[in-house]
């Protein structure tokens, strides 16, 4: 194994500029040659809640946040206001320090702003420091920032101190500041940065072991989040229309797209509600523009009827579902994988939709592109499921990864010349929904094309799009629409790159199965388990509908037992798997977590040991739950 990763946590009030500071910190380390991964924790309050971002830096690729962390920069909450005793949120100022201590590893470093945080207020602080061998550096970051610039530059002071303590060259930060700050802010920031480093050098004695690892990248890297990658994928597929209504965490994709679309001559619309948002995307697509919409749980529920309309009218559209903890308003800023069944089945009638759940930022790019390709090629809605975790995590990806050909293709849309060869009625209406066509996909003219007019409706309809309740017509049209899913499954199975990802020794006896954003934690868990001598591998499933029956069956055939790990309370993916495969019930047990925090690798390691190695005996320490196999 390589040297210990640096896992740096910057904690403060949610108005303290934590996001931008951590982003620059991660970028600086990425540029210096390291692999980075960020994890963000925040409450759904704008001010007064405490927040943190973790930046993990390693000399090897990182897939997940780590177990715990080893460097705390506690800024103190500069927005803490309520001084009444017994106030609901208590003493906010010290929270960025107090609330983060539990997960700080032994031998870890603490830098805190002594200008805001009074250590006397923290119960048993000295004892805990001693017990855990923590290295503590009280620094009056506030005064330092005020002296050379403004109070918000406490961030920069903290970064300067961190750099000095773990051996990061200040040049990396200087460069980033020069790129993003105007001169009047740049100069004081540079001063604060250097001054903080000098204070550490001159005023403290250090004997900690933690140091930033060293590494180099062979090519230029980009620091991107799952949301960035969804947006990039959409742009590269020629998506030029988005309609939405803000809802955490979907707002991120919506915001990113709204930033780029005007720059590329596209259109972004914030509308009255999510019913409208989905309906607008359908309207734009119908009129010849590649379009998307999306939301999170509750907003996606409102899209239910338009989603069915897209299925029935065979109108291509891509929807994003950025899950968060439910039911109802749930926990708006907390990740969960509780919307699987909602996404698969919502809307009346039998569904004909395609659903992907990418596991990483890179997969979010690839699968969003695929979602557009399939939607337009097969004329149906496709849905990309992400969650608060994937959408907010930043990771380094080679910049060249995005150097691809755009694909604005609308699928089977005829030109006016081609339209002449389509069957029309005597007056000139196109037979838009013919029974017998290749792959069940008919030509789709666009309004305004000469000779292309057609009728479409959310009612069951004839080949000419007229409303019909004729039993024979009904069965034929229904089967044609549903058959597309089998054809899509075949296409996905035959593709060179499966959307499913595998990790660990092929011949392992035990399996860990995840779906969507839990991929990274499972990968790290497998590394740990294998290092401990266990015989285990992992499968992450992204294709949820149509379900990858062949791939999952093959994986399950190859193992004795498998643990399905998912962030919800009712084992929805296990249920789907058993429904789709109809067997293997006795091989599958579940590890569930639904407390608002994603699985850390250690949670999975522990669950695996309890369930697979100890036959389900023994409780789990983490806030997880084990559901034994049905055949047990």
């Amino acid at each position: 194994m390589s040297s210990e990763d640096l896992i740096w946590r910057i904690a403060g009030g949610s108005g303290d500029g934590i996001d931008s500071t951590s982003r620059n910190f991660a970028k600086a380390l990425m540029r210096s040659g390291l692999h980075v991964f960020t994890h963000r924790h925040y409450p759904s309050r704008i001010r007064g809640g405490h927040t943190y971002v973790e930046v993990r830096a390693s000399d090897e690729p990182v897939h997940s946040r780590g177990d715990g962390y080893n460097f705390l920069l506690a800024l103190g909450d500069s927005f803490a206001r309520n001084e009444q005793p017994g106030a609901v949120y208590g003493n906010e100022e010290i929270k960025p320090l107090v609330e983060n201590l539990d997960e700080l590893r032994e031998g870890g470093i603490i830098v805190y702003d002594s200008g805001l945080i009074d250590i006397e207020d923290i119960p048993d602080f000295d004892e805990r420091v001693e017990e855990n061998n923590w290295h503590v550096f009280p620094m009056d970051l506030r005064s330092l920032a005020r002296e050379h610039g403004r109070e918000v530059m406490r961030n920069t002071a903290g970064v300067g101190a961190t750099a000095e303590l773990v051996g990061i060259e200040l040049g990396a930060f200087e460069e980033l500041m020069e790129e993003s700050f105007p001169d009047e802010i740049l100069q004081p920031n540079l001063k604060v940065l250097h001054e903080a480093a000098a204070i550490v050098r001159d005023e403290f004695e250090t004997d900690h072991e933690l140091a930033v690892p060293e590494s180099t990248h062979e090519e230029e890297q980009a620091l991107v989040s799952g949301s960035d990658c969804v947006a990039f994928g959409a742009l590269d597929e020629g998506c030029r229309f988005i309609a939405g209504y803000p809802m955490t965490p979907w707002t991120e994709v919506f915001t990113i797209m709204s930033g780029y679309l005007p720059q590329v001559g596209g259109i972004s619309e914030q509308v009255e509600d999510e019913i409208a948002a989905a309906a607008l995307a359908i309207g734009a697509s119908h009129a010849g523009v590649k379009a998307m919409s999306g939301s999170s749980g509750g907003g996606f529920a409102l899209m239910s009827e338009p989603l069915g309309l897209a299925e029935m009218t065979e109108t291509p559209v891509v929807l994003i579902e950025a899950m968060r903890a439910g039911p109802s308003t749930g926990m708006p800023t907390k990740p969960e994988q509780g919307d699987l069944e909602h996404v698969l089945y919502t809307s009346q009638g039998d569904s004909s939709r395609v659903v992907f759940a990418p596991g990483t930022a890179a997969e979010a790019y690839e699968q969003t592109r695929k979602a557009f390709q399939i939607a337009y090629e097969y004329q149906l809605p496709t849905i990309v499921i992400i969650d608060q975790k994937l959408s907010g995590e930043n990771i380094n990806v080679p910049a060249s990864f995005f150097d691809r050909e755009p694909n604005p293709d609308l699928g089977n849309v005829p030109t006016e010349a081609e339209l002449e060869d389509l069957p029309h009625d005597d007056v000139g209406k196109v037979k838009r929904f013919q029974y017998e066509v290749e792959n069940g996909v008919n030509a789709r003219p666009i309004p305004g094309q000469k000779g292309g007019r057609f009728l479409t409706t959310g009612n069951e309809h004839t080949e000419f799009g007229h409303i019909s309740e004729d039993p024979q017509n009904r069965v034929i049209q229904m089967e044609r629409r549903l058959e597309k899913l089998n054809i899509i499954r075949d296409e996905l199975d035959e593709a060179d790159d499966s959307h499913q990802s595998y990790y660990g020794p092929d011949d392992a006896d035990y399996g860990i199965i995840t779906w969507g954003s839990m991929q990274g934690a499972a990968v790290e868990a497998v590394d740990q388990l294998v290092a401990e001598g266990h015989d285990v591998k992992a499968l992450n499933v992204s294709d949820l509908m149509p379900y990858p029956v062949a791939e999952v069956s093959e994986f399950l055939e190859s193992v004795e037992q498998a643990l399905i790990v998912e962030m919800n309370a009712s084992a929805q993916f296990r249920g789907l798997t058993q429904k789709e495969l109809g067997t293997y019930g006795e091989k599958l047990s579940s590890l569930l977590k639904f407390d608002g925090n994603p699985f850390e690798p250690g949670d999975i390691v522990e669950g695996f040991e309890v369930e697979i190695i100890n036959d389900g005996t023994g409780p789990t320490q983490a806030n997880t739950r084990i559901e034994p196999a049905v055949g047990d």
């Binding site: 009255e272 309309l309 666009i446 305004g448 094309q449």
Partner: protein
């Protein structure tokens, strides 16, 4: 060169071109006011010079929503209450097409009321025809948002306890820039109003009184009616918002007292359409977006063009 050559094509247009060949079994009852909407709409088309291939007729669900079964053009029969969001996006995607949305009073003022308010607010360049029969026709006669207070139906056995909605006032307050009421019994006025509404560059709302002889048997057939533009009793300045508000309030109340007032109520030709507003702030391309997908020479932008800010 446009990929949509139907748009702007010149040539004789005949109302009969808008009659479909394979007309399905008629689902409208004899004497239904909906026939008059169909007829006046067909007759308006030659006057505005639009051919079937450049019109997109987007409808909701209801008896009224069947309009595009009988009207030959591009047709999208959507969901109950959702014609407007589908329609206005189509217009943004391709401002060259003539977008007409239509549906019932339940569809537009009830379940789709939020979209009505917001589409009017945005002032999209399109026509919205609301078939106002003061009842839920298709679902067999339940009271609708425009049913008079006291209207009895199987789901309101003691009569509706609410006052009806005020559709014209709602349109005005929300921002519609052309507002009129017409009636099925007055097809000539209806046609003229439709022509004006189509030619108007903004959101044109037409509250179209359509009698439903099946479920509103004792209700009036909207005769006699008064055209406020033809009557000596009224002298409305169509650009005067306050006067319009007063006239609308009078008209809405009068209907339930047996006096049918119709005509134009408000016309604001100065307010830019939403598409123009979006273009003014650089958030909508000058060339219709839909054209781009047919332009083989277009250099599509890529995410890679923006990658530098992530490195």
């Amino acid at each position: 060169m446009s990929a949509f050559s139907a748009i702007g094509e010149t040539g004789e247009i005949d109302a009969n071109q808008f009659t479909p060949e394979q007309e399905p079994q008629p689902t409208w009852c004899p004497g239904c006011g909906d026939f008059a909407v169909l007829k006046s709409l067909k007759q308006a088309m030659p006057e505005v010079g639009r051919s079937p291939d450049e019109v997109l007729l987007v409808t909701g669900i209801g008896c009224s929503g069947k309009l595009n079964s009988y009207f030959e053009s591009y047709g999208f029969h959507t969901l109950h209450g959702r014609s407007l969001p589908v329609a206005r996006a189509a217009k943004l995607a391709n401002p060259g097409i003539e977008v007409i949305a239509a549906g019932g009073d339940g569809d537009g003022y009830g379940i789709g009321g939020n979209h009505f308010m917001h589409t009017a607010r945005e002032n999209h360049d399109m026509v919205y025809i609301v078939f106002n029969n003061e009842v839920f026709g298709l679902t067999k006669g339940q009271s609708s948002p425009t049913s008079p207070k006291g209207h009895k139906s199987k789901t309101q056995p003691s009569g509706v306890a609410k006052d009806p909605i005020r559709p014209l006032s709602m349109a005005l307050a929300s921002g519609a820039s052309y507002i009129a009421r017409t009636a099925a019994v007055n097809p000539n006025q209806a046609k003229e109003i439709l022509v004006e509404a189509i030619e108007h560059d903004g959101f044109a709302h037409i509250d179209f009184l359509t009698q439903c002889p099946t479920w509103n048997k004792d209700a009036r057939q909207y005769v006699p009616y008064t055209d406020i533009q033809d009557s000596d009793d009224y002298d409305l300045d169509l650009t005067d918002r306050r006067a319009a508000a007063d006239m609308m309030a009078e008209t809405e109340a009068a209907l339930y007292e047996g006096t049918v007032l119709t005509g134009r109520y408000y016309v604001d030709d100065d307010r830019p359409s939403y598409g123009q507003e979006k273009q003014n702030i650089g958030e909508m391309p000058e060339t219709p977006l839909a054209e781009r997908y047919f332009d083989d020479d277009y250099e599509w932008e890529r995410s890679y063009d923006f990658i530098e800010s992530y490195t």
